[in-house]
């Protein structure tokens, strides 16, 4: 009976970890998505200074988030986002509109992809 209780506790903890990690992932995705969208809008409007400020903030936020979510997200995805985020910062610095928008789009796509991978649906199950 002791083994059954230990198993139930272990399993419940695992399910709880799954819930918390998915919730956290959604939260950080939304935060980064908001920042990324405003960077894209500022780039489109030609407000490079404002885009740079938001990009720096996003970089700081991502640094904190990536450390935490590397516990439950494949590190390849995190590395890809970090790389794109660095590229974006460099393109904003050089005021390269096309490349900056492409990088911002990539970040958005990668964030969506991580979120989608955690969704329970037919595609992910099979």
């Amino acid at each position: 009976m002791r083994n059954v209780i230990i198993t139930i506790i272990l399993f419940s903890t695992t399910v709880l970890i799954c819930f918390v990690s998915v919730k956290y992932l959604n939260k950080i995705s939304n935060n980064i998505h908001t920042e990324n969208t405003s960077i894209m809008n500022n780039i489109k409007d030609g407000d490079w200074k404002r885009a740079m400020t938001i990009s720096t903030n996003m970089s700081k936020d991502w640094h904190i988030y990536s450390n935490r979510c590397s516990i439950f997200v494949n590190h390849t995805f995190i590395d890809d986002i970090s790389l794109e985020e660095h590229k974006l910062e460099a393109y904003i610095k050089t005021k390269d509109k096309d490349e900056a928008l492409a990088s911002a789009n990539s970040i958005e796509f990668l964030l969506e992809r991580i979120k989608k991978l955690e969704t329970i649906n037919f595609e992910n199950l099979f």
Partner: protein
């Protein structure tokens, strides 16, 4: 590099713990569902062990889930006859009343050589000596020989003898096991006196000392 080392230690500890929780069945004769779980666990643990891009939790979650499934299936089997039948199947009688059941042999895709090999491994050399041969759900073969060929027991020969008991270790590697001494109902003083009577001055000289299945004191020193 050190990450892999630490990951290996963590995963090894986890898998050992999981196997302990799964119980002794998992390291003995395996039922089909237990075999599947054991193979899967070993594979799941090795993946995040090698690939540092995969978070450790991605290995831990399926392992814990498999443990949960194993426990649930074991409980189901314990409580329900139908579940036992569905999950583990039922034993197949390969030799029934001294005759090989060819249909069942065919069903189990077992050839005569396999059967003969198993029978020989059980210590029987003639097919006609066997009354029943049962292929258990764990894949083991149980054999019931013809009654007149079975070994005679003490009961058959009317020999009366006391029941053997579990041997109790009293000293192991020079260290006294006080818990076992208490179970035996003896004191440390008794143990020391017994050792003195065998010209042993200290327990440190003793490699093993136990009360054997007949209740008699047995010991071996390092010098032996």
């Amino acid at each position: 590099m050190f990450t892999i080392l630490l990951r290996t230690i963590i995963l090894y500890t986890l898998v050992v713990l999981i196997m302990r929780i799964m119980g002794k069945r998992q390291i003995g004769e395996l039922q089909p569902f237990e075999l599947v779980i054991t193979i899967m666990i070993s594979d799941l643990a090795s993946l995040p062990m090698q690939d540092t891009r995969i978070p450790l939790i991605h290995g831990v979650i399926p392992i814990v889930t498999l443990l949960f499934l194993e426990i649930i299936i074991s409980l189901l089997q314990l409580k329900s006859e139908t579940a036992r039948l569905v999950i583990s199947g039922k034993p197949s009688i390969l030799i029934n009343n001294g005759k090989i059941d060819i249909d069942i042999m065919r069903n189990q895709r077992l050839n005569l050589n396999d059967l003969m090999e198993e029978i020989r491994l059980k210590g029987y050399y003639n097919l006609e000596d066997i009354e029943f041969a049962i292929l258990e759900t764990s894949g083991q073969l149980s054999i019931i020989p013809k009654t007149e060929l079975a070994n005679a027991t003490k009961q058959d020969l009317n020999i009366k003898c006391p029941q053997d008991v579990i041997p109790i270790t009293l000293i192991l590697d020079g260290k006294i096991n006080y818990k076992n001494l208490k179970i035996l109902g003896k004191s440390e003083k008794w143990l020391i006196t017994t050792l003195h009577s065998k010209n042993i001055s200290s327990t440190k000289e003793v490699f093993i000392a136990l009360a054997n299945s007949k209740g008699k004191f047995y010991m071996q020193t390092y010098k032996n």
